[in-house]
């Protein structure tokens, strides 16, 4: 599905990513775990195309997309839910969802209905404007908006940040269901150990712009592992 080789990225002259290699198969959920400032968000921004990589290559379904602009990556099936949700505060929930139908207008109503079936929590909120939603509702809206673009690969940037546990549970269930029903592939960036352990099939640990190790989710509940993770921010 996605093949990343030696990806390097920088903000101006400050290098952030020093050669990331990542291969994600169809239907896989891959977690990327790391502290603040380790390059998690930078990695996702490079993958969706908001940041031009300074080296390396990205392949999506066997096609080189390293120099493809972000909007084309979206139209080619990459969905991105950024950190901080980034919904439209002045639009109501329904219009927030509608704006995601960039080029797939044909089946707008059908996809909208299906999406609302997956996120029943949004149904009573359709007329509410984005700014009055709670953090958790905004996160769910951002996820739903992303799915309206019918992606096959989902990039999630810290979806649990500042969100109450019951909604985190709900998001886990929804994402697991989507992976089964739609064969969705997910790359998930997180600091939340529990969340990443309960969703991902394998986890990369990112440290100072490099993948330092790959672990199984089971290892994440290991006390020594937790200690190491907490210590490594240093």
């Amino acid at each position: 599905m996605l093949m990343v080789r030696g990806l390097k990225a920088a903000y101006g002259r400050i290098p952030i990513l020093h050669g990331i290699d990542l291969s994600v198969g169809e239907g896989e959920i891959v977690g990327i775990l790391g502290h603040n400032g380790m390059g998690k968000t930078t990695l996702l921004k490079s993958l969706i195309g908001l940041l031009r990589p300074t080296g390396g290559s990205i392949e999506l379904k066997g096609r080189d997309i390293t120099r493809m602009p972000a909007f084309k990556r979206n139209l080619n099936g990459m969905g991105y839910v950024p950190q901080g949700r980034d919904i439209f505060p002045n639009l109501n929930v329904l219009d927030n969802l509608r704006i995601a139908f960039a080029m797939h207008k044909v089946e707008e109503e059908k996809i909208l209905e299906e999406t609302l079936e997956i996120f029943p929590r949004l149904k009573p909120l359709l007329e509410r404007s984005g700014r009055v939603l709670s953090g958790g509702e905004q996160q769910i809206l951002a996820l739903a908006r992303c799915l309206c673009g019918s992606p096959s690969l989902l990039l999630l940037d810290e979806p649990t940040e500042g969100i109450q546990p019951s909604i985190i549970e709900e998001i886990i269930e929804i994402l697991q269901g989507l992976c089964k029903s739609r064969n969705l592939t997910i790359i998930l960036v997180e600091q939340n150990l529990d969340f990443i352990a309960s969703l991902s099939q394998r986890v990369h640990i990112i440290q100072r712009g490099r993948f330092t190790s790959e672990v199984s989710p089971a290892q994440l509940s290991d006390a020594q592992m937790i200690g190491e993770f907490i210590g490594m921010g240093g």
């Binding site: 602009p69 972000a70 909007f71 979206n74 950024p82 980034d86 704006i99 009055v132 673009g149």
Partner: protein, 357 residues
């Protein structure tokens, strides 16, 4: 997308109010204005349309173009050269829209597909205007002509034929006919832009203004939408230039000068960035002030530009949002019944929780 006419909604009421004001201008204007005032109003309509074009691309598209006058001037010159060569005004009117639009599309292609940042965009557009200024001023020689129309350098082209009835080059429009045409065009352009903002295209344009990266990862080609917005703005400015030529059958390179380029920015800034009516009101108010200052005795010792500089300072410091948005904010604050349903509910909840706390 369906357009609901919801009379409970204050933005719809505002729209109806603007429509009524414009209709009043259309029908009542010629009854109460004498010829001199009528011509003056044609000029004001032309500049209001110019302000509208920048108000659209800056306030809604987020494109700060410092050289909107280049499209105004191009529209004026395209009409002048066209009508002198063809001898009939229908095609030249179309030229005055299409030539600036085509030029804007080309310029926009290089600026937006080159991912120029906002500040460079302002500099580039201003430079383009000044290049036109310098070039048109140096075209006095006989060798500078397009067809039978000489460009005449800094003296400008005079005795440009005005509008005629379509297909009848020998029956020109009288000033009050031109007045009707101007007001109708302004109404069409204003409501056309309003409609455009309610379409899918318009929503995307505003989404890009709010956050470019977000629009991009949601699948919209930001470069394309910005180029198109820029082109629409240039077309409107070009039409305004065509009306300007019809005001006194004259155009000279001063339309490309720094003075006009800066004034348009002032009109929009003072009228209110992010509104369409604001820039139009701003242009009318500032020009009337300018004319009034010119007729006053104290103009001998108080430079007009000094007054304008002071006005800009006051607005930037005290009314940074501009006239119309500030008036709206005041109305919301002191006239509770103009608030929307949702805002009223939010305010009620806020009062409740403040009372409990």
């Amino acid at each position: 997308m369906k357009i609901a006419l919801n009379l409970e909604d204050w933005s719809t009421r505002g729209l109806i109010l603007v429509g009524l004001a414009m209709l009043a201008l259309l029908f009542v204007g010629p009854q109460i204005f004498d010829l001199f005032v009528l011509l003056k109003v044609i000029l004001l309509i032309s500049t209001a349309m110019l302000a509208l074009s920048l108000g659209f691309i800056w306030g809604f598209g987020g494109i700060l173009c410092f050289g909107q006058s280049v499209f105004f001037g191009l529209g004026g010159y395209a009409y002048a050269i066209g009508v002198i060569n063809i001898g009939e005004s229908t095609v030249p009117i179309l030229l005055s829209v299409l030539v600036p639009a085509a030029f804007a599309m080309m310029l926009g292609y290089f600026m937006f597909y080159g991912r120029l940042s906002d500040i460079y965009l302002a500099v580039v557009t201003l430079a383009v205007t000044l290049i036109f200024y310098a070039f048109m001023r140096s075209t006095s020689g006989e060798e500078y002509h397009i067809g039978s129309a000489r460009l005449m350098g800094f003296n400008g082209i005079s005795s440009i034929p005005g509008f005629n009835w379509p297909g009848f080059p020998d029956s020109p429009l009288w000033p009050d006919d031109i007045y009707y045409v101007s007001v109708v065009l302004l109404i069409l352009v204003y409501f056309g832009l309003r409609y455009l903002l309610r379409t899918h295209f318009g929503r995307v344009v505003v989404a890009i203004r709010e956050n470019e990266a977000r629009a991009e990862y949601l699948g919209y080609d930001v470069r394309f939408y910005k180029t198109m917005t820029f082109t629409v703005g240039a077309a409107v400015a070009g039409l305004a230039g065509c009306l300007f030529v019809n005001f006194n059958n004259f155009i000279n390179p001063d339309v490309f000068a720094l003075g006009l380029a800066a004034q348009i920015i002032m009109w929009v800034l003072i009228g209110g960035v992010g509104t369409l009516v604001g820039p139009m009101l701003g242009s009318v108010a500032l020009q009337m002030l300018y004319n009034w200052l010119g007729t006053q005795k104290f103009a001998d010792f108080l430079n007009t530009y000094l007054v304008f500089g002071a006005i800009i300072l006051v607005f930037v410091l005290a009314v940074p949002q501009g006239l119309l948005p500030s008036a709206r904010a005041l109305a919301l604050r002191f006239l509770p019944w103009v608030r929307s349903q949702e805002e009223q509910e939010t305010a009620a909840r806020a009062r409740e929780s403040a009372g409990n706390g």
